[in-house]
């Protein structure tokens, strides 16, 4: 299992479009990918689960991936966060 801490940098936070991007990217991997915020854990392949995190700009999240393609899966999801989902 691999993990990585990220901060939500884009202005609007994890609203509809960024969550769609996460779900789309996560869906391309076999690994289980989770996003943790304090006590809440979301399945990155699920729109409703990820959006329910209600993560606004500045929120810190822990990403974990587990499975045969975990390294690349984690890298690509982290990249989305770092690029602010192409937003700002």
């Amino acid at each position: 299992m691999v993990n990585h801490k990220v901060t939500v940098l884009n202005q609007m936070g994890l609203h509809t479009r960024p969550v769609k991007e996460i779900v789309k990217t996560a869906g391309g991997f076999r690994s289980e990918i989770l996003i943790k915020r304090e006590t809440k854990t979301a399945n990155a392949k699920s729109f409703v689960s990820t959006i329910a995190l209600g993560a606004a700009r500045g929120t810190e999240l822990l990403l974990t991936a587990e499975g045969e393609d975990e390294e690349q899966a984690l890298r690509e999801i982290v990249e989305l966060f770092e690029n602010k989902f192409g937003e700002d």
Partner: protein, 559 residues
């Protein structure tokens, strides 16, 4: 025959309709809890799977149709629903309930969606809460498939009818066959709500905001919709039917007559051409401007993107809206007025508060120059959109030079930021200002140095010049668009525009009044911007006039 009801609402889209009613009542589906035996599990699970497949198919088809119809905004809403259908957590939730709790597929779907909605409702973020409506839509679609009870909205219209509903939602609009809708009557809504804009876009007569009435009306009853007065009649008398048959005929005739003006220029008999532009509040209205023969958008009131919601629209959302208009207009000019808030336009999430004298207070450019974060988001969205057509930016409520310089500095900053990020914006985008404060008119020679065009906003110019509130019955008699002071100011602006080589147009209500065209041409107005339905009328008026005669007459009037 039941005793006839009569309604009075807001006339939201012009024209008259007479036809059979279809009453659209949407009840929330609430399946009963039914326990299943172990042997039924595969059957219920398959029912759910089949419903998912069918819903996915329907939605993909809907998205494709909307995209082909150039309706990108609605297509993207419906596309978002596709994500919900394939959501593993939802599928898991339904699966658990069927396999472990042993409930039927419809109840499992109902419970699973209910739980998700509950979680999202707790989040303090309007953008996220907006997704709840999508979840309800998808839930209903799946329940429809599982129970085999089709929702009326989908299979509703089999013949031309008048649709009576509480409200018309975007997903209903997407499903409706507009060819069969003769008219709309709704319980809620205003002139700027979804139903009204859609009705105007498709040229369907509509009356909205009638209050609660659906209970007293039934399918098949004859209904008259009067989109001019806002009246709606149930089971009308022979006499009323005859009266409205005449009105419909006259309306169709005048529309046809005006249609003849669509593709011919607004040219006076002595060969002088004038620009005819449309005023819009939402991207969907742009198509109607083209239909009426408009040569561009003279005023896109961007504040409508900010109204009726809980938080400001993001840069992406604004960008998409501006871009949609530019794409609809395919190369024709589009003037976007930056946020014109304050005065009588309240946006609850902006900290303007209630003022003692709002029309002389913190509004429009004054507000934007102090909330630079908000203003920058809009300017960035506009600059990004400018790559997709002929976009022009207009600043409202300018009273002197400094405000133009400040606004332009922020625009330059936004441009440099975008450049640093490698994002392209059109070079040399024209910048203009509204002339609606008398001080701006009086120093328009100075202001002309800083801008490419003026647009005269008559509603405010008149009330500020005459110090009369036209909404105040006791002084509204003073509000006179043809007061000598107003006419002199307009002429001064037009003369300065000519002298310093900037374009001058007019986008207030005066510009759409066919009776005033001669006066405005006489004063030197070159471009007219108005609501789409006025364009042919004003054009007709222009074509009956001589520019030279209008100028001579105006010079005499102003002596």
């Amino acid at each position: 025959m039941i005793q006839a009801h009569q309604l009075k609402g807001i006339p939201a889209s012009p024209g008259f309709a007479v036809g059979p009613a279809v009453v659209l009542v949407i009840r929330e589906r609430r399946p009963v809890k039914r326990m299943i035996g172990e042997n039924e599990i595969p059957y219920e699970w398959n029912k759910f799977q089949a419903a998912l497949d069918q819903a996915r198919l329907e939605l993909s088809e809907l998205v494709r149709r909307l995209e082909e119809g150039g309706n990108a905004e609605q297509a993207s809403i419906m596309e978002g629903q596709l994500y919900l259908i394939d959501d593993p957590e939802i599928v898991q939730g339904v699966s658990d309930r069927i396999q472990n709790e042993r409930v039927s597929a419809d109840f499992a779907v109902y419970e699973t969606f209910g739980e998700v909605v509950k979680t999202l409702a707790l989040i303090e973020d309007e953008y996220i809460r907006e997704r709840i409506a999508d979840l309800q839509d998808v839930k209903n679609r799946l329940l429809e498939q599982i129970t085999g009870e089709t929702d009326k909205a989908a299979a509703l219209l089999t013949r031309p009818s008048i649709l009576l509903a509480h409200d018309i939602t975007p997903s209903m609009t997407a499903q409706l066959n507009k060819e069969l809708v003769m008219g709309f009557v709704t319980e809620v809504g205003s002139r700027t709500s979804h139903t009204s804009i859609m009705a105007r876009t498709f040229g369907i007569p509509a009356v909205v905001g009638c209050g609660e009435f659906l209970a007293g009306w039934s399918d098949g009853e004859t209904v008259i919709v009067d989109g001019e007065t806002g009246e709606v009649f149930q089971n009308p008398s022979e006499q009323q039917l005859a009266e409205y048959a005449k009105k419909q005929e006259a309306y169709a005739r005048s529309k046809e007559e005006l249609q003849a003006f669509k593709d011919i220029p607004a040219e006076t008999i002595d060969g002088k051409r004038f620009g005819m532009y449309g005023n819009i509040g939402t991207p969907a209205e742009a198509a109607a401007v083209l239909e009426s023969g408009g040569e561009g958008i003279g005023l896109f009131r961007s504040e409508f993107l900010f109204m009726d919601r809980a938080a400001m629209p993001s840069e992406e959302e604004q960008y998409a809206a501006y871009r949609a208009v530019l794409e609809t207009m395919s190369g024709k000019p589009v003037i976007v007025r930056t946020l014109d808030v304050g005065g009588d336009k309240e946006i609850p999430y902006l900290p303007i508060g209630s003022e003692f004298n709002p029309f002389l207070g913190w509004r429009a450019i004054r507000y934007c120059l102090s909330d630079t974060a908000l203003f920058k988001v809009q300017l960035r969205a506009l600059l990004r959109a400018s790559a997709h057509g002929d976009l022009r930016i207009m600043f409202p409520m300018i009273s002197g030079e400094q405000e133009i310089l400040d606004a332009k500095r922020l625009l330059d900053e936004a441009r440099s930021e975008l450049e640093a990020e490698g994002i392209a914006a059109a070079a040399g985008m024209p910048i203009g200002i509204m002339i609606e404060v008398p001080s701006a008119a009086l120093v328009s020679d100075r202001l002309a140095r800083h801008v490419d065009f003026f647009s005269i906003g008559t509603n405010d110019l008149i009330q500020y010049t005459l110090a009369a509130d036209r909404m105040n019955e006791k002084v509204s008699y003073l509000y006179d668009s043809q007061h000598l002071a107003v006419l002199r100011l307009i002429r001064m602006v037009c003369e300065n525009a000519r002298k310093f080589n900037v374009h001058v147009g007019m986008c207030g209500e005066m510009a759409g009044d066919p009776q005033l065209v001669e006066i405005l041409i006489g004063l030197g107005v070159e471009e007219f911007s108005m609501s789409a339905e006025q364009i042919p009328l004003v054009k007709k008026s222009v074509r009956s006039l001589s520019e030279e005669a209008a100028r001579i007459r105006m010079t005499q009037t102003l002596e």
